[in-house]
Structures are given as structure tokens and as C-alpha cells.
Symmetry: C2
Subunit: 430 residues, 2 copies
């Protein structure tokens, strides 16, 4: 008997028919002899409807983050209670639990709370009794104030992985609207290939580089706690993509693969970031740290960073970095506030950028990879604005308008095109 | 500075415009120098929509009472968070609290839980800090299992009164879609008059007799804990009806009222009950208690009871009683289960009944009242099926089809018709 955590997103439970279908799938897993814990998001568009109502009620909903979390957390209550009823209607027993009942304790940063601890006593009791336990994704309770919090984007994936870790589950199945992780976004590159297995490290780079299927935080969590992820479609029974963390589960090299060749996993892209350039920063030690401290204080997550050499002859330099567009205005305000203190000249802000990343093991030790990468971009007429690299990734920032063309060019240059065309269903966000 | 509890029903917060209007009203009360605690129901039709979804997901939602409570409790989360945002949007501070956060501890009977204790520490802290505290009506948390419970019909009124009692509030204002308690339902008797003040006792009889404005439980609670209720319209600024509990607040006799005359408060009616007749019960001591024990065991609330004299010459008698239609099938099943044990012959069940009640102080000592009452019914051609009386009430059960005619006849016979016609807005349930 295995313990399986299954996560279903909002598009899988978008209406009553979807909920019944998901209930069937869960009961099937349970009747195959497994213990099942289910994490579920809010139904389809319900989050947008709640946000819309909030905007009608107040002109400044951003000033009410605690209430926004209270509001949005209602969405999962509805989907999880309905799902539990659906399972009971099929003759199995099920109980639903809010984030707080499931022991998801977080910090108090509303709208993007981080998990502090997970104490799923009630979940354990429920599954040991033979029930399916349904848990609200995306939500928790703050340790200090006992207030309802939400985990922000990708929060339900994180809930699922955190529960899988705390319960020592055999696998955490992430059900989605595509049948696995692809070598590129099939909407941009229709010939993209499904990946059967990928390491947590590479998946981390894919997610950090904008692959939307799994959120970065959930992959980080899975890697740290050794959770085995299986990303698969809720619309089919096929195996999806396994994301495997520990050395025991290392990617099996396909027979015949040349061992010293780099293994390119795929191409990821991202339109959700903006570029900030702080111009004319005094080129003295500690200034960069000061700037990043200000941005962090505005709760912004910086991604790529480039510092130009001091070209002014005036002891000044420019610092560019990218961050999520949704965090842009707050970070910008904080920077402007501190202009006199830091002593920089001006700040530029650009949302019309795209990020493209190539991910694969053995990349660094193989100079041919970067040559092929930059040649493909250049042949496609794509200008490069920023570059950053890691052991297993090269990322570039380009014009937003050229991003799709760049993705297709790189995907083709590394022979990633498959023979079949991926099936894509309507997507969702939480 | 007074502490005021204000309760707004689902029709008052049916859409964004309604929520903004209610927010205005609350802020107005607070700026007049009062501490304000608000109890709110789910928005308009949202409960029906959730029930509809549940029916689409499972054929047997009655088998999932815990999940049903989880589902329905989402409704108040949405309305209370939006209301708090609306208040913040007007520049005041507000925080919303679930039933469990507000310290509403109940028993574990899902769907009709009873309040065991109220510990509103967080509410007290919030209002002492100057916030408006918004509390989810209708819901609590069970003491044994820490599960979400709902209080059943009229639950939000009960939440408001229970909070008012626990916080020792100066008044509990119940906002509704009519501008107070009327001498009869204005939808049936358009000439009905608004009552300015009524005692808790009379209100109790009105509520028990089917007056929908205040639920029986909330009036009982208010009477027991000395809570002053003010029932008024959320659509106007006019004074509504005061429901006053303690001897200090006794109804002021209007100047010129003859002191020894009975004061008729009004006519109430009710279509929500069914009549059960247990036929051929052995006429030996203890049999009635046995039957009522069985019904109570099915969590049914018996209202009127009539036991006929033993007419069979066979030592057998018939026992009739009324109970809420929604509790009928469960009670009936329990009775049928126990048929052999009790030894009765058969059981009849009739949902096509209506109950009419005349309420007023000094009724019993004034024989003219019952004469006038029964003559009015007889003149109107209304047959009477059951009769029950108390110190301040006469109730009769009639054919459901004749109920409206009966209400108008009795209302006219006691000169209750007013000169103005009541304003009635669309109604709601919780």
C-alpha cells in the first residue's frame, strides 16, 4: 500500500462534471489499494470572479491583504467540500480540511505567505481510518495571528508537495491540463517532445525560467525534502513526467546515449518579468547590496542581475535586474524613496521583455552548447539584452515581441522537435 | 459610546452595490461614536447556487452533512471579506472573522448545530482597537471535533444575538427587508400595521407561530440573556420595531389605552410545518412520551400536540402533532422503525396544512378574544383542524389553501388594519 498525494488544479474541477470525473479518478486510486490525500484548487474562474467582486466593492483592495486572503480562501472550501461529496456519492468515504485544519502553518505575509511548518495530524488520522483526505490548496494559517493566509502563485502545488513531504508520501502526483513536462511550451513550439524523467535540479531551472507547469517553490520544496513528483494529465491515464530528486533516482541514461554529451532537457520562456535598471550608482562597495536590500524589503524576488562596468569615468555604474511584473510597482516605489540615500541618478523600468532559457546537464563543460545557442538566436535575428548562466542553464533576456521566434529557433537548433504534437487543454493559474 | 451589534441578511448584501451601501451604514454608525460588531449572511442567492452545485456532484448530499457545512460556510467568508474591504475602502478599519475565529463553539450536529459557548476575545480586541469587527453569521466550530458547523435556519440572527449577549452590547440591530415587525405579514395583509415595541414573550409567540422576520431561536436567546433587539430596514433610516426583554423595558402603554383591555400584537402564519397523526396508540401511560422520544431522537422539533380521547372503545387513541416539513421524513422513518415496539396501528402525514396564530397580552383573561377569533374564522368559511393556546397566543391549524383568507379575516376582526401599506423588498432566508 502506497500513500499518494494527488493535486488537482482549478481547470480540472471547473464545473460539476469535472468534479465528478476527478472524484472517479481518486476513488479508482483508492480502490487500487492506496491511501490518498488530495489537494485541490478553487474551481475554474471562481478566483477571478471573487477578485472582480472585490474591485467593485473597494477602490483599494491592495490595502486589505488580510481580507483578500479571507475572500480567496473561500474558493477552495467550495471545491474541496464538493469533491468530498462527489467521492461519498461514489460510495467511498472522504473528509475535507482547510489549510488550517491540515496544519499548514505560515508566516503572516498575506498574499504570498511562506510555509513555516506542516502538522497534518488530522490528515493522518483520516487516511488511517480509510478516508480520502481532501485538503484546500493555496492556503494556511499564520503562526502569529491565527489569520488565514494564502501562498500566492503556484500555491496549491506547494501545498501538495509540503503535505507529501510531511506525510512521507510515496509520490506526489500533480494533475494538470497537459500530459507532462515538454521540451518547450507546446503552444509556442507545437513539435515539442514530452520528457519522461527529469531531475529536480533541471526542473528547478525550467521552472525558474518560466515553464508554467510546476511552480518554482514546489520544485524547490520537492528537491529539499526528496519528494518524488509525477506531473500528468487529469484527462488521460498515460504516464506523465517524473521529477526525481535524490541520487538514488538519478535520471537513467537511455541506452546508446553518449555519456559525455550534454543532455538538453528543454527550452523554457517567461513573459512575467520586468527589467529594472538603476542608472548612475556610486561605484563603491556595498551599494549593490543596499539596492537589493531595498528591493527585498518590498518583498520582491529578484531573478537575473547584471552590473555593467563603470563607463561614466565618474565612478558610477548601472545595475540591471529582473523581477516579477506584479511586484514591480512596489519595488520601484521603494527604490525611488531611497534615491537620495543610495545616491543613484535615475531608474528605468521595462515590462516589454521576455526571458528564454536552455536547460540541460553537462552544459558548462561543453562549449559547443553556448555557441549553438547564441548562433541560433543570431540567425533568427534576436537581439540579446541580458545573459545569465548556471551549471545547467543559459538564460537571455530579449524583446518580448521576439520571444516566440527565439524559442522556436533554439528548440530546433538542439534537435528537440518531436514527431507528435502535444495536446493542450485550457489552462489555470493557482 | 455604545456597543452596537448589527446583523445584515443575504438580501442586504446581494451584490457589490448592496455591500457598498451596507458598508456606508456601518461606517456612519461608527463615526457617530459607537463600537460596531457586524454579523453578515452569505450574499443573496449564493447559498442556493452552492446547494445546486452539490446536487450536481452527488446524488446523496444528505449523507455528507459535515461537507455540506464546510461548503455553505464559504458563503459568509465571501460576504464578510468583501464587506470588510468595502469599509476599508471608505477609510475606516475593519477585520472579518469566521465563526470559529469569533469563538462560536457549538455541538456537532451538522446543519443545525446549537451554540454551546461564545468566547469573542478576538472581536473584543478588534473593537477596542477601533476596528469594525465583521463576523460570519450562521456558522461555528464543534467543540468535540473542531469541525465547521452551521446553525440552520435563522442562524445569522442567532449569531448576532449570541454575540450581543457575550459582548454585553447595548443593542442588537437586525436589518431586514421590511421596516419592522407587522401585525401580520404585509404580503398577505397589505393593510398590516408596523409595531413600535413588543415584548420578547410576544415576539417569541410571533416567531414560534411563523412570523419570518426573526427566527425563534434568536428571540429565545435574546429573552434569556436580556438582549435588546431593534428590527429595522436596511433600506431606510426609520426606527423599526424594538423587541424588549426585561421588566425594566416593559412595553409602555400608549396614553389613553384602556389598561384592562387585551393588547393584540398581531397575527402570524406559517406554512413550513407538516402534521403527523399516529393512529391507534395503546392508551396506556408512557406511550406519548415514547413517541415524542422517538421524534426527538430524530432531531425533530415538535410544535403543536393534540391527543384525541380514546374513541375506539378498544383502549386506543390518536396522537397528532406538527413539526417542520424539512424534518418530516427523518421523523417519519424513525416512527415507522418503532411501530412494532410502540404498538400503534398506522401513521398519517400531511404537508398541506397552515398554522395561524393570534398573539397578544391579556388574552386568556378576556373570553371575548377567543369568541371573536373563532367567529372570524367561521364567518370566513375556514375549518379548524387543531387548536393550541398559551397565555398570550391562540394557534389553529387549517387547510394550507385557506390560510391567507383566514389571516386577513382575523386581522380585520381585531381592528389591526393600518392606514398605510407596508413596503416589502425581496426576501432572504439565512
Amino acid at each position: 500500500m502506497s500513500l499518494i498525494v494527488q493535486k488537482f488544479g482549478g481547470s480540472s474541477v471547473g464545473d460539476a462534471a469535472g468534479i465528478r470525473r476527478v472524484a472517479q479518478r481518486i476513488v479508482q486510486t483508492q480502490r487500487a489499494g492506496h491511501q490518498v490525500v488530495v489537494v485541490v484548487s478553487a474551481m475554474g474562474d471562481s478566483t477571478d470572479e471573487l477578485l472582480d467582486l472585490a474591485a467593485q466593492v473597494s477602490n483599494d483592495v491592495a490595502a486589505a491583504p488580510r481580507e483578500m486572503d479571507m475572500l480567496l480562501s473561500a474558493g477552495e472550501r467550495i471545491s474541496m467540500a464538493l469533491l468530498a461529496m462527489g467521492i461519498q456519492g461514489l460510495g467511498s468515504s472522504a473528509q475535507s480540511f482547510t489549510g488550517s485544519q491540515a496544519g499548514m502553518i505560515t508566516d503572516a505575509i498575506h498574499g504570498r505567505a511562506r510555509i513555516i511548518s506542516v502538522s497534518p495530524h488530522r490528515i493522518k488520522t483520516a487516511i488511517d481510518r480509510g478516508d480520502v483526505a481532501i485538503v484546500a490548496g493555496f492556503q494556511g494559517m499564520s503562526r502569529e495571528s491565527n489569520d488565514i493566509t494564502t501562498l500566492g502563485r503556484g500555491g496549491s502545488d506547494t501545498t501538495a508537495v509540503a503535505l507529501a513531504a510531511a506525510l512521507n508520501a510515496d509520490v506526489c502526483e500533480i494533475y494538470t491540463d497537459v500530459d507532462g513536462i515538454y521540451t518547450a511550451d507546446p503552444r509556442v513550439v507545437p513539435s515539442a517532445r514530452k520528457i519522461d524523467e527529469i531531475s529536480s535540479e533541471e526542473m528547478l531551472e525550467m521552472a525558474a525560467s518560466g515553464a508554467k507547469i510546476l511552480h518554482l517553490r514546489s520544485v524547490e520544496y520537492a528537491r529539499r525534502f526528496g519528494v518524488r513528483l509525477h506531473v500528468r494529465s487529469s484527462f488521460s491515464e498515460q504516464e506523465g513526467t517524473w521529477v526525481l530528486p535524490s541520487p538514488d533516482d538519478q535520471i537513467k541514461i537511455q541506452e546508446g546515449d553518449p555519456m559525455e554529451q550534454p543532455i538538453i532537457s528543454g527550452v523554457a520562456h517567461d513573459r512575467s518579468e520586468a527589467k529594472v535598471t538603476v542608472v548612475g550608482v556610486p561605484d563603491i562597495p556595498g551599494k549593490a547590496a543596499e539596492i537589493f536590500g531595498i528591493v527585498a524589503g518590498a518583498h520582491s524576488n529578484i531573478d537575473m542581475i547584471v552590473q555593467n562596468v563603470s563607463t561614466h569615468g565618474s565612478g558610477r555604474t548601472d545595475i540591471s535586474f529582473t523581477l516579477p511584473i506584479v511586484e514591480g510597482s512596489e519595488a520601484l516605489a521603494a527604490l525611488k524613496n531611497a534615491q537620495d540615500h543610495v545616491g543613484y541618478e535615475s531608474v528605468d523600468y521595462n515590462e516589454k521583455i521576455g526571458k528564454l532559457s536552455l536547460i540541460g546537464a553537462g552544459m558548462r563543460s561543453n562549449p559547443g552548447v553556448s555557441y549553438r545557442f547564441f548562433k541560433a538566436l543570431s540567425d533568427a535575428g534576436v537581439n540579446i539584452d541580458m545573459i545569465s548562466t548556471s551549471e545547467i542553464r543559459i538564460s537571455v533576456v530579449t524583446d518580448a515581441d521576439l520571444l516566440d521566434r527565439a524559442v522556436r529557433a533554439v528548440h530546433a537548433a538542439f534537435d528537440l522537435d518531436g514527431e507528435t504534437v502535444a495536446t493542450v487543454h485550457a489552462g489555470s493559474g493557482r
